[in-house]
C-alpha cells in the first residue's frame, strides 16, 4: 500500500508517495535525494539518521514517512543559512570535531536540538545530550569542545 504525504522539509513544501511501512530515512534518502541523514544501524542505536521533527530530535529510521503529513522536518541540508554555516557547523570544522564525518550530520542535529533547549549546557549536559549518537573516530573530545564553542558563540 502506498501513501500520499504533504509535509514541510527545511521550510519547503514537499509531496511524496511512499510505502506504508517505509521509514522516513528511506523517504529522505531514496525518494527526496536528501542523503545527509545516514543509516548506521536502522534500529535507532547510532543516531546517524537524526532529524528534528516538529522541534523534537528523532531517529528518522524509527518513524514512518507516512506519519509526516502536515508536519515539519529539519534535516542537515537545511542547517546552514545559504552560504553561511550555522555556528555548530563552523565550530565542528574549526575544532576538528569530525574525521570520517559520517556521524557528523546526526551529531549536528542532536547538538542543535540540545542547544535550543539548553543554550548554556555544562560538559555533562552535552555528553548526555549527545549520548544517543555514536562516533567511532574522535573519542568525542573535540565534538564536546565544538559544541561548547558554538554554544558560547550563539549566546553572544
Amino acid at each position: 500500500m502506498s501513501v500520499h504525504v504533504k509535509t514541510t522539509i527545511n521550510g519547503d513544501q514537499v509531496e511524496f508517495v511512499c510505502g506504508a511501512d517505509e521509514p522516513l530515512l528511506d523517504v529522505l534518502r531514496n525518494r527526496l535525494g536528501l542523503t545527509g541523514a545516514k543509516e548506521g544501524c536502522g534500529t535507532g542505536d547510532c543516531g546517524a539518521c537524526s532529524v528534528i521533527l516538529d522541534g523534537r530530535l528523532v531517529c528518522s529510521c524509527l518513524v514512518l514517512g507516512a506519519e509526516m503529513d502536515g508536519r515539519s522536518v529539519e534535516t542537515i541540508e537545511g542547517m546552514a543559512d545559504g552560504a553561511k554555516l550555522h555556528p555548530l557547523q563552523q565550530q565542528f570544522i574549526d575544532n576538528a570535531a569530525l574525521q570520517c564525518g559520517v556521524c557528523t550530520p546526526g551529531f549536528l542535529m542532536a547538538a542543535q536540538a540540545l542547544l535550543r533547549k539548553n543554550p548554556d549546557p555544562t560538559e555533562e549536559d552535552i555528553r548526555f545530550g549527545l549520548a544517543g549518537n555514536l562516533c567511532r573516530c574522535t573519542g568525542y573530545d573535540k565534538i564536546v569542545r565544538a559544541v561548547q564553542a558554538a554554544a558560547k558563540e550563539m549566546r553572544g
Binding site: 549520548a131 567511532r136 573535540k142
Partner: protein
Amino acid sequence: MTMNPDLVDKTYKVIGTRVRRPDGVDKVTGRARYGADASAPGQLVGLVLRSPHAHAVIKKIDISKAEKLKGVKAVITSADFPDHTNGDRGLRDILENCMARKKALYDGHAVAAVAAVDARTAREALKLIKVDYQILPHVTEVDDAFKANAPLLHDDIFTDGITPTPTKSSNFVKQAEYGHGDIDAGFREADVIIEKSYKTEQTHQGYIEPHSCLASVSPDGMAEMWVCTQGHFVYRNQCAAILGMDANKLRVTSSEIGGGFGGKTHIWAEPLALALSRKANRPVKLTMTRDEVFRATGPTSSTSIDVKIGAKKDGTITAAFAELRYHGGAFPGNWAEFGAMTGFACYDLKNVKTVSKDCVVNRPKTAAYRAPSTPQVCFAVESTVDEVARAIGMNPVDFRIKNAAKEGTKSSYGPVYGPIGIGPTLEAAKNHPHMKAPLAKDTGRGMACGFWFNFGGQTCVDMNVTPDGNVTVAVGTIDVGGSRASLALVVAEELGVPYDAVRVVVADTSTLGHNDMTDGSRGTFSSSMAAVFATRNAIKTLRERAAKTWEIPLDEVVWEDGAARAVGAQHGNRAPLTLKEIAAAAPGSGGPIAGHAEIVADNAGVSFATHICDAHVDKETGKTTITRYTVIQDAGKAMHPAYVEGQYQGGAAQGIGWALNEEYIYGANGRLQNAGFLDYRIPVCSDLPMIDTQILEIPNPHHPYGVRGVGETSIVPPLAAVANAVTNAAGVHMNHVPMSPPRILKAIKALKA
C-alpha cells in the same frame, strides 16, 4: 635512504598549522557522498542470504522460485564464481569468504545473493531460496580449536612452522617464533618471576558506515564500482582476479569513507555486487545492514596468551616469554604472529622469546583492526610488567624507563632500532601533571606502553599546476582522518604557496598507478613522501622554464617562496618569476607543468606511545568509569596537530571500549548473540572524559619532514592501562577483557573470599 635532517628543525610556514580540512564543509552540510549515497540509472537492490549455522555442509541450493519472482533480475550462488585463483591460497580464501562454496563456516557466511527492482522484492526473493544444510559440530573458542577432537573446519590445513609438518590436517594453521638470547639462562638470573595467563574477547572495528557499493558491469566487460573502502586499488585487483576480469576493465572510485579502522581493507560483498550486475546487466547497489556488518565482516581475533617475565631486584628484566594463541576466524591468518612480533617491542631485552599459534574457528574471517593483534598482547605483557614492578617494589614508570628500548636496541622481532620515542614518551608520562594529580576514593591510576611497526608501501602521486598557477594533487591513498589537508600542507610548504592554493583529491583506479591501502598508519606518511617528490619534480620543471625564459643556466635558478629566482652576480638582480607567471607562459614554454612520483615508501619509522589512565571502580556494581586519560605519542612530525590529536583520542576511545565493554558473544549454537549496537556497546559521549594528548616529535630520518604514521598505536596501550588502573583502584588483577561489570564483580567477590 636517510634524506632529511636539514629540514627537521626548520620552522615551517604552513606545516604544523591547524588549517580547515578541504572536506569539512561538505561533511557538515550533508553534501559529502559516502558508499550508500550514490545512485545509477536503472539500479537494482542487491541483498545477501547468509548462513544461520556456524558450520554446515551446503548440500543443495534451490534458487528456482526466487528467480521466477516478478522483479528479480539475478540470483547468484557459488556456482557463479568459478575458481580463477590459480593456486593462490589467500585469494581462494577471500573468494570462499565472499561466497560459501561447499560449506558454511560461520553464522553470517554468504550463501546466495539476489538483485531485484526494489528492496521489498529482494527481501521476498531471499525467502524463496531454499538451502539444504547438513549441520556439523562447530568450534568458536580459540583454546578449543587446538584440541585433538575439535571439529575440523578445513581438510587441507597442515600446521606450518612445525617440523616435521603434520600429516593430519587440523585447525592449527601456523606456529612461529621470535626473539633472541637464552631465556632459560635469563630466568635463572631473575630475582622475581611472574607468570600469568590472559584472555581477550573478539571486538569489531565498529565503523558507523556499513559496507556499501554500487557496481555496474556492462555487456562489453567494462565495469565501474563506487565503494567505501580503505584501498580502492586493492579492491579493484582482488575483485577483478576473483571475477576473472582484467584489472584495467574495472574502474573503482572510492566514496568518502565512514570509518574503517582496518575493516575496509578487505573485500566482502563487492564481488557479489559485481557478479549480480554482470548477470542482471544492470547497476546493482548493495548495502549491508548493521547485523550483516557484525556477523560477516571484520572482527579481531579473540585470544589466549601466556606471559612470563623475570627481573632482578634492581629492575632489570632478565628474560621475557610469551605464547600467543589467536584465531583468524574461519580462514588461516597470521594474527598471532603479529602479536608475537609486537608484544615485547617496547623493551631492551637480552633474552626474549615469543611463540605464536594461529588457528581457525567458526567465526567470521578476522580482519585488521588498528594495530592488528597488538592491543591483545600488550594487555597481557603490560599487565605482567606492572606486576613484576610491584613485586620488586619499583614504580611502574621507573621500571619501564629502566628497560625501555632505545636507538641501537635489537628489537624483540629482529631489526635494530633507529631513533625512537619509547623513552621520551615514558619520561613525558613521568613528568606529566596527570601522573602527579591526587586520586579520588576507589579510583586507581594505571599506565601502559604500546608499539606499532607502521608501514610504507607502494604509493603514487600526481601533482599538476593549473593554467592560473594553482595546484591540484591526485593521490591514491584513501583519506580516513584528514590526510587531504596534511598532503595539501606538505605540497604548499615545498612549493612556497598558500595552503588554499593546493587542492588534493583521491583519484580513481583508472587515473593513477597502483597504491596500497590506507592501512598500517601509512596514508599520510607514504603519500606525503610521494607528494614531496612529485612537487620537487615539478619545481625542477618550473626552474627549467624560468631558465629558458631568462636564457641562463638552470643551476643559476633556485625556487624559493613560490617563485623562480635567479642567483649569482650576473643575474641576481632579475625580478623573480612567480608560479602564476610561469604557469601562464606554459603554452609557449613547453606545455603543461606537472610532477609525478611512484615510490615504495620504505622505512616508515616505528611508533611508540605511553598512556595514563585513572579509573573509578564501583565495588557494588563492578562498573568502571574512566575519570581521566592522557595519551603521549611520538608523531615524528605532526603535519596537522589537530588531526594527529584526533588519531590519539579516537584510538584511545576504541581501546577503552575494548577494555570495558565490547565483545562478541556466541551462543552454544554458534550464533552471534549481539549483532547490533544496542548489545555490542561501543563507548558513547557520556562514557568518556576529555582525552588529553601530548605530541612528541622525534623525527623519522627516512621521511623528508620526519613524519611517522600516527593512526594505530593509540589503540594499543588502553587495555592494559585500564586494567592496571582497575588493579590499583580495586585490588583485583583482571586477566580477561573486556572488564565488564560482571567480570569485575566476580573478581572483587573472589578477593573478599
